[in-house]
Structure formats: C-alpha cells, structure tokens
C-alpha cells in the first residue's frame, strides 16, 4: 500500500495536467465569448435595422412620414395612423391589465387561501404560455362577433377587441411579477398595521401595496411592453385599417398597429424598395420603444427574491 501511495497522481508535484490546462483555457474563453454574445446580438439587430431604415429617410420627405395617410401603393407613407393604432390599443390593454392584473395579484397573494392560490396560479401561467396566434384565432371567431352584436357595431374587428386580448396577454406578466413584489413585503409590516386596528383591506391599500409599489410598477411596465410588441393577435382582430384614431370612440373602429403593418406587408414588398425601407423604419421605432420601456422597467429597483418560481411563469 505504501508503494501505491507513492504513485498517487495527487502526490506528484504538478497541480494540473498541462493538456487539461490548455483545454480548460479554451473552454473558459468560449464561456466568456458566450457571455458577451448578448451585447453582440443587440448590436447586430440595431445596426441592421438602422442600415435598412436610413434609406427611407432619404427617399421619403418628412412631411409624408408625418402625414396621417398610410397608403403605400400610392406612395403615402404616413406612419401616424400606425403609431396611433399601437398607442390606442396599448392604452386600452393597460386599462384592462392593470386593474385585473394587480387585482388578481392582490387576491392571490393576500386574500386567497393557500389551496386556492396553488390551483389558480398555474392557470394564470398557462394563459401566459398560450401562443398569440391561438388567442387571435379565438378573438376572431368569438370575441369580435360578440362585440359586434352586443355593442351594435358594423364590425367587431376593432381596437376594443385588440385591447381586450392584449390585456389578457399582459395579465400573466403583471400578475406574476406583482405577486412576487407583494410576497416580498415583510410580514412585520402587515402585522404592525393590523396591531394598530386596521382591517386587512386597509392594510393592503395603505401598507402592503405601497411597500410593493416599485415591483408592481415594474410588472405593469413589462406587461405594457409585451402588449406593444404583440403582432398576431392584433393582426387577427383589429381590422387592419390604417386610420388615425382621434378619440375614445375610435376604440370601436378598426385600427392598425405598427407590428401588424410589418407582418402584413413584409411578404409583399420588393427587396430594397422604398416600402421595404419604411417597414424597417417602423421596425426600428418599435425596437427603440421597447428598449426604453424595458430598460426603464428593470431599472426600477426591485430584486427578485423568489428565484425559480417566478422565472418559470
């Protein structure tokens, strides 16, 4: 046994086999490269969009771009109706997602008994996993006709239908992140409030929710971000009419979003035509909007404490 021990590799005076060392250096370098890849991809996407959209600015006058007529066949490239369409739908979606999303989060986090919470949470997560084309499909076949009949409209394909569906799509994001934020509020806050004679309801509104407000704000912003970026759902239920919405009543008319425009028209444009470049211009506008919304939302100071549960929703 003494002889065997003298042959122990670990007793030899080298720390690590040089061949292994070389391989480890290579793998470490690859890992580091992978780490930086995210930056490279964002840069690539931005640059590409930029390169393909700048010709649009040269080929089309600003007055055209800022007009309210989008009719590419006759060289009308007013993007305002599209921006307006995205805007009105996003506002509508927020008006739905905020109360229902935060309300559901409060219910699940503060009020519902444990067994109910464990049952309902996965259901909300499922909503988040539904493909947008399935929701658009159902919206087209069920929601729009329903709206048409119920509200006596010429067509159910409208901004309202889009808002309802996008609100639904944003709700799971709002619920899960808000719920984490509410969970993270220390129990001692609630206990202190109750000890002073407040009801649970009062505690929620005066203590818990304000304490979680940065997380809830993040949740809503990320939900909005998701709504802005939706394509298929809006393409299928908003009617795709590029008319600039001017007031609340336009909620009941068809609109067209920026995203739907790109999706619908990209297949038909000639490569490198003006129309092609304009679509890329719309693309870069979307890129920048989402950049601002998402980075701001994440800069709002809020550390996720519950690791896996939230991420996997």
């Amino acid at each position: 046994m003494y002889q065997l021990q003298n042959k122990m590799i670990s007793k030899q005076k080298i720390g690590i086999n040089p061949k292994i060392q070389k391989r480890e250096l290579l793998i470490t370098a690859l890992i580091k490269a992978a780490g930086y890849s995210a930056i490279i991809f964002v840069g690539m996407i931005f640059l590409f969009l930029l390169v393909e959209s700048i010709p649009a600015l040269r080929e089309v006058e600003l007055s055209n771009l800022l007009s309210s007529r989008w009719y590419p066949i006759e060289d009308h490239y007013g993007v305002l109706p599209l921006i307006g369409g995205s805007l009105i739908i996003t506002v509508g979606a927020t008006l739905i997602a905020l109360p229902f999303g935060v309300g559901t989060a409060i219910y699940l986090s503060e009020i519902a008994p444990r067994w109910l919470r464990e049952t309902l949470k996965p259901l909300v997560e499922i909503l988040g996993g539904l493909p947008s084309v399935v929701l658009g499909f159902l919206g087209m076949l069920i929601l729009s006709p329903y709206l048409r009949i119920w509200l006596d409209l010429p067509t159910g394909l409208s901004a309202l239908a889009g808002s309802i569906l996008l609100g639904g799509i944003a709700i799971p994001t709002v619920v899960s992140i808000s719920e984490d934020a509410l969970d993270a509020v220390p129990k001692s806050y609630r206990d202190a409030s109750l000890a002073m004679g407040a009801t649970e309801w009062q505690t929620i509104w005066r203590v818990t929710l304000p304490a979680a407000r940065s997380g809830v704000l993040t949740a809503v912003m990320l939900g909005i971000g998701r709504a802005i970026g939706e394509t298929m759902t809006v393409m299928m239920v908003t009617g795709n009419a590029p008319i600039l919405p001017t007031g609340i009543k336009d909620l009941f008319s068809p609109v067209r979003t920026m995203t739907a425009t790109i999706a619908a028209e990209m297949g038909e444009v000639a490569n490198s035509s003006t129309h092609y470049h304009i679509l890329f211009l719309i693309g870069i506008i979307l890129f920048l909007i989402s950049l601002v919304v998402n980075v701001t939302a994440s800069a709002v100071v809020f550390r996720q404490k519950k690791s896996q549960e939230r991420i996997l929703s």
Binding site: M8, I9, S10, G15, I16
Partner: protein, 251 residues
Amino acid sequence: MNKISIHNLSLTYSDGAQPLRDISFDIPANQISVIFGPAGGGKSSLLRTLNRLNDLTDIQDQEGSVLLDGRDLLDPSLDVIQLRRQVGMVFARPVVLPLSIKKNVTYGLEVAGETNKDLLSETVESSLKKAAIWDEVKARLDDPAIALSGGQQQRLCLARVLALEPEVILLDEPTSGLDPISTGKVEESLQDLKREYTIVLVPHSVQQAARTADQAIFLLQGELIEVNSGELMFTNPQDPRTQDYIQGRFG
C-alpha cells in the same frame, strides 16, 4: 522544526478593511497549533491565507510572507491547486458535497486525475478509518452523504481531506455545530492525527483551545497579542488582554 513560518503578514480588503495586521509567528510540525480569540479577530482570514482560499474573496493586498517548508505561499506564481492538496481544510459547518459518501472521499483524488480503482477504494477505507467513521459507514458507501448526521458529516469532511495525504490540516471551528460526544471524537482524532500531520485549529471555545493546544496564538482584531505553549497560555497568560479574554471578561 517549523512547518510554517509567517512573517509580517497583513491583509487588506478592497474596501480598505484590514483583517490582519503585521502577523508573525511559527507553526511547528506535528503539533496542534490553536489560533483563538474573539469573533472578527482575523482567525479565519489567517487560516484561509494558508491554503490560498483567500484568492476567492476580494482581498486586494497581501503583504509579508508565509513560508511552507521554506516556499513562500504568497508568491503569485505558486501552483495553488497543488498547494490545496498539501494544505487541507475542514470548515465550520460540515459541507458534504452532493455526492455519495464514497465519492466525497475520492473527490480530491478524482479532480487530480486519479483513475486507479484499487488506489481509490483503498484510500476510501484508510481515510474513513483515520477519521474514526469507517465502521459506521462501511456498509453504505454509496448512500448520499447528506443522509449522515452532523457529527458523521464532519468526520466525513475530515476523511475527505485526509484522502489527499496533506501535510497540514486546517480546521476552522470544526465542532461548532456538533454535540459534545461528536466534539470529543473529533478532538480525539486530532491527537492521533498530529503524529502524521501538522494541525492548525481555530477552536469554537476557549475551553476547546485549552484542551487541545500544543501551541496557542491569541489574535485580537487582526493583531497578534501573544504566542505561547498551550500549557503556559492557559495557566499563566502574559498580556492583560489575553487574561481578560480567557477569563471571559469579554468575548
């Protein structure tokens, strides 16, 4: 003969804090040297300097020299992987790796590249015997190590270190989470082990220090206050601060 010689060792964190200031003393071979003192005194930092585990923290500056058999451990070109096989460490809370009992013991050998199956199983048996736990686990070597009790886990951690045949064994409050019986077993093992190895121990109580020390070093807030043989330190400490601490006037 001195196994380790420390000269003017000072450590500085990146935020400016200095856990150790100008420490100098020797660690004789085949003895139990006990480094004791109140919390925050720099004892763990000192221990972690001896196996360069401090490299994993944000220590910014290491001044002075630490000689192991004449070689300076603070030399940046030193092979730290090999060093950590020569200077093994047992931590305060028993941290068993999420592997089987057997695999825990052979881990150090396997990462070194050892594949000789006979050697590995022989080492498992001899290390677990030296750690006084062989009889308790020999029938379930493939069971997950997490199934063992706290005291058993800590002895497994000791076996894990012994498997690498180190020259020095560092123990950082190894019995702090253990019941008195397990603690007694560990202290007994140390008396056996010092015949083959040099032991550096941070005790979790002054009483443990008094029970085990061949040589005792008192560290207070990063400074070395007193060095003496175990017997003399605890019967007749020289420095008033040492006296106060030993008698429990502060802690």
